[in-house]
C-alpha cells in the first residue's frame, strides 16, 4: 500500500477538524473492508485515514422518540444482535447477515457500505425501504439527506470534501408493519447481488389492506433506487399477489441494469419483478406476525 497518515480522533469536532486540515485528501476509515482493499489496488490513495471508530456519535445504536439511530461506524455484527432492530427493522438485519462473510460482518459498517456507494450494496435498499435519513456533519454544520438521494453514481455520493456521515436515522416503525431484504446470487453466500430488493410495508388493523409501502432496489442502476411509484401503487390496496404483481411491473419500468458476468440486462429486469413480489410477500407475512424465517440462499 502507498504511504499515508493515520489519525484516530475521539470526538466529532476533532474528526471534522482533521478532515479540514487534510483538505480533501483524507478518507474516513470505519470497518475498512472496502477501503483497505481499494487502497491496496491503488484505486484510492488518500494522504490520511481518519479512523472514526472511537467517536461516540458514530457508534450509537439505539432508539428514542425520533426512531432508530445507527451510527455510521457500527459494524454489521452489532446490528444483527440488537433486539429492537431484530423486532422492527428486520430488512436491515437481513442485509447485515449477508454482507460478505462472518469475518467481514465483524468489521463492515452500514455507513461504510453506503459511503462506498456501490450500486449493488446490500444494505442500501433496506435503508431506503425503512426510510433512512443520513445525518452528515461538515464545516458548515449538519445536514440531513434521505438515503435514496445519497448515492449519485457508482462509487459517488453527495458528501463534499470535509464532510462526514455521522449516522443513519430511521423513523419509528408503525404497528402492523414488516420488512425484508433479499438478493439473487448464484451461490448461497459470499457473493455480489445480481439484483437486491428491500421492502417495508404497513398494513391496516385487519392485516388485509396495505396502508403504505416503500421498495428499494439494488444492482439494477448506477445507484440504488427508490421504486417510489411501485410502493405508492400499493397504498390502500389489498395485500395480495395481484397487487404485488402490479408493484413488480412498476419496479421493472424504472430499472436500467447493465449486462455483465453476473447477468444480462434482460435477466436483471425479470429478476427485479420476481424479487419484488417475493420480498413484499415476506414483508406482509412479518407485518401480520406470521412466522417467517429467511435462510439466505434458499
Amino acid at each position: 500500500m502507498h504511504d499515508f497518515d493515520y489519525e484516530r480522533p475521539v470526538s466529532l469536532v476533532e474528526a471534522l477538524s482533521l478532515m479540514a486540515r487534510h483538505n480533501g485528501h483524507a478518507r474516513p476509515l470505519a470497518g475498512g473492508t472496502d477501503l483497505i482493499d481499494q487502497m491496496r489496488l491503488g484505486r484510492h490513495q488518500p494522504g490520511a485515514l481518519i479512523d472514526v471508530k472511537r467517536i461516540a456519535e458514530l457508534n450509537v445504536l439505539a432508539a428514542d422518540a425520533d426512531g432508530l439511530h445507527v451510527g455510521a461506524a457500527v459494524p454489521c455484527c452489532r446490528i444483527v444482535e440488537q433486539p429492537l432492530v431484530n423486532q422492527q427493522y428486520t430488512a436491515l438485519v437481513d442485509s447485515c447477515r449477508i454482507i460478505g462473510g462472518i469475518q467481514i460482518q465483524s468489521r463492515a459498517s452500514v455507513g461504510g457500505n453506503l459511503c462506498n456507494s456501490g450500486p449493488a450494496a446490500d444494505s442500501t435498499p433496506s435503508l431506503i425501504a425503512l426510510q433512512g435519513v443520513c445525518v452528515i456533519a461538515g464545516p458548515a454544520g449538519t445536514r440531513r439527506v434521505p438515503v435514496e438521494r445519497f448515492c449519485t453514481g457508482p462509487g459517488q455520493n453527495v458528501l463534499q470534501p470535509g464532510e462526514l456521515l455521522v449516522e443513519i436515522c430511521f423513523p419509528p416503525r408503525p404497528p402492523h408493519s414488516g420488512s425484508h431484504y433479499r438478493r439473487l446470487i448464484p451461490r448461497n453466500e459470499m457473493d455480489i447481488a445480481v439484483v437486491g430488493v428491500g421492502a417495508a410495508v404497513e398494513l391496516d388493523e385487519s392485516g388485509r389492506t396495505i396502508r403504505a409501502a416503500r421498495i428499494g432496489l439494488g444492482a439494477v442502476a448506477p445507484t440504488p433506487l427508490w421504486a417510489e411509484e411501485a410502493g405508492a401503487l400499493l397504498a390502500g390496496q389489498p395485500a395480495d399477489d395481484v397487487q404485488f404483481a402490479r408493484a413488480a411491473e412498476a419496479a421493472r419500468k424504472i430499472v436500467s441494469p447493465i449486462t455483465d458476468m453476473r447477468g444480462t440486462r434482460e435477466y436483471r429486469i425479470h429478476v427485479t419483478g420476481v424479487l419484488v413480489q417475493r420480498v413484499l410477500r415476506a414483508a406482509v407475512a412479518r407485518a401480520r406476525g406470521e412466522a417467517f424465517t429467511y435462510l439466505p440462499g434458499h
Binding site: M1, H2, D3, F4, D5, Y6, R8, L29, G31, G32, T33, I36, D37, R40, L49, D51, K53, C77, G100, G101, I102, Q103, I104, S106, R107, N188, E189, M190, L295, P296
Partner: protein, 160 residues
C-alpha cells in the same frame, strides 16, 4: 514517510508492543514483525479467510485490518489455540478427520471454528457451512472440514 508508531495489544494473553507504519496490516505485522507465521496470507483482499484471527473475540480477516487499528485490542491467533503441547479439540478433530491437505487454509478455518463454537456450541451442518463461508479451501474440499467441526463440537459438548 508517515512516522512509525508504537502499538500495544494483547496477543494470545501476552501484552505485546510493536512499531509499525500506518500502511501495514495486522497480517503483515503478525507475520513479518512478530514472526507469528501461523496466520497465513491467501488472497489479501478479504475473500479467502486464510488470515482469520480473533480481534476482541470476533473473527476478522487480518489482511483488512491496519495494525494501528489493533492498538489496545485483544488478539487471538492460531499460535494461541493449543494448550501447551496439547492440541485443542478443533485442532485434534482436523487432524483426526484429515480435514486438511496443503494446510494453508487450516489456521483460518480453525480460528473461524473457534469463533463459531464460542457463539454456537452445537451448530447444524447448515450453520457450520454458513459460518465458514468466508474461508476457502482449494484442495481437500469442505465435507471433511465440516465433519471435523461437528466432531470438535461433540467432543466439547461431551466434556463440558
Amino acid at each position: 514517510m508517515a512516522k512509525k508508531r508504537v502499538v500495544s495489544a494483547t496477543i494470545n494473553g501476552e501484552v505485546v508492543e510493536f512499531l509499525c507504519e500506518p500502511r501495514q496490516t495486522l497480517l503483515e505485522v503478525l507475520r513479518d514483525t512478530l514472526d507469528m507465521t501461523g496466520t497465513k496470507e491467501g488472497c489479501s483482499n478479504g475473500n479467502c479467510g486464510a488470515c482469520t484471527v480473533l480481534l476482541d473475540g470476533r473473527p476478522v480477516v487480518s489482511c483488512l485490518v491496519l495494525a494501528m487499528e489493533a492498538d489496545g485490542s485483544e488478539i487471538r491467533t492460531i499460535e494461541g489455540v493449543a494448550r501447551g503441547s496439547h492440541l485443542d479439540e478443533v485442532q485434534q478433530a482436523f487432524l483426526e478427520g484429515a480435514a486438511l491437505q496443503c494446510g494453508i487454509c487450516t489456521p483460518g478455518f480453525i480460528m473461524q471454528t473457534e469463533a463459531l463454537l464460542q457463539a454456537n456450541p452445537n451448530p447444524t451442518e447448515e450453520e457450520i457451512r454458513f459460518y465458514l463461508a468466508g474461508n476457502l479451501c482449494r484442495c481437500t474440499g469442505y465435507d471433511k472440514i465440516v465433519r471435523a467441526v461437528q466432531a470438535a463440537a461433540q467432543k466439547r459438548l461431551a466434556t463440558t
